[in-house]
Symmetry: C2
Subunit: 234 residues, 2 copies
């Protein structure tokens, strides 16, 4: 029998941040290799440097005016790049949105995978909820963009975006159903799963409401989890 390390207190945002897999450089490197066909630059070093500039600028401009109203000339002014540089990097404007979708998909699938590695469904549920909440704050501009700009994507990518949300809810629902001994007595698992997702989205969709002193996000996670557990156990 092995002795495992059991943390004395619940996982906090600060803990999570330390172990977070997707710092800026790694994320852009992954996006570069996953989206070779959308990106005109062949050497990672240059691609990552330009992608950084382009996405930082996009995330600064879009929340104020929306993706469609952001012109490439706005983007040039904000990044300091030239028209040629931008087009060599992203090939066309739509690809900015497509790459954001890919990034969010990437980290979400990783979250589900990690949660599935847990054998105890209660532990898995907590990992998924906190993982999703904390990740979507660390990558807030990406999640925010995908939610508000799904309509700016080509149609097949719009479907991907909706299916990503559906699969997140399905995963939560599966875990909740496992925890409910007598499902007919409580709330439908789907209702609770939807509520969880919605509470997570509240945080990353309305940054104007949460000028967050970091501690409040732990309290928020705690309130969510308490509410979930009280609602599951009849």
């Amino acid at each position: 029998m092995t002795i495992e390390f059991v943390p004395a207190r619940a996982l906090t945002f600060a803990d999570f941040k330390k172990c977070f897999d997707y710092d800026e450089d790694r994320l852009f490197a992954l996006l570069f290799e996953r989206n070779q066909e959308l990106i005109g630059i062949r050497r990672e070093k240059f691609a990552v440097r330009n992608l950084k500039k382009i996405f930082r600028a996009t995330f600064k401009l879009v929340p104020k005016i929306g993706f469609q109203a952001m012109s490439l000339r706005d983007l040039l002014a904000e990044t300091g790049l030239s028209m040629g540089g931008v087009y060599l990097t992203i090939t066309n404007k739509d690809n900015i949105a497509i790459i954001v979708k890919d990034a969010v998909t990437l980290v979400c699938e990783d979250l589900v995978e990690k949660a599935r590695a847990e054998s105890d469904p209660a532990v898995a549920l907590e990992a998924l909820v906190k993982g999703y909440l904390y990740t979507s704050l660390l990558l807030q501009p990406w999640f925010y963009f995908l939610y508000f700009e799904t309509r700016s994507l080509p149609l097949n990518h719009q479907d991907d975006s909706k299916n990503l949300e559906r699969s997140q809810v399905a995963e939560l629902e599966r875990l909740i159903a496992q925890l409910q001994k007598k499902p007919e007595r409580g709330y439908p698992a789907k209702f609770l799963a939807t509520m969880i997702l919605t509470m997570v989205q509240e945080r990353y969709l309305k940054p104007w409401k949460y000028k967050q002193p970091a501690s409040t996000i732990d309290a928020y996670a705690d309130n969510c989890l308490r509410l979930i557990h009280r609602s599951i156990h009849h």
Copy 2:
């Protein structure tokens, strides 16, 4: 002592719909008189007829492509009006979004007013939650548009939109706090108020998830209210 009519069962969506104050004609008539300075047509009859066409077309196009990507020529094709007709009606494109904001503000303020007329805070809370949920489904395109297109509004109107949400949460919070005898024991009133609003928004923001057979919305309302009451009472 007067004998009051006490309904045998909870208010359903069907009941609500029957007494709903804002059918299309009345809503447009109100918008016409509230926004005289944005509307170029002077005779109500013509104004209402054109506004109907314009907003119906807008609500058909915008969910697919977004407001900024919807051109006035798209709008002409969808409404059958001419450029002159459209511009005589709405004066400029921004005014479409501004009038939507005014409509949502109008019905929301009415909801709060009606809830305040109730002396029992439990009754008032139920009236507000169900009223908001049912209203935002009956006027789904309006609420959806305001949420997704707030960034397309002129800045001062963007503030109005955010403040409208803040005031809705504040009203819910006030009622919840009244119902909590020992506030320190349960969830913060603000947390619950936010959760309620978020659950309502879930329904009108994601119509692609809810191809609703009408009954499901009553079940949804019931689940929400049970969750709220269980969370308030310790």
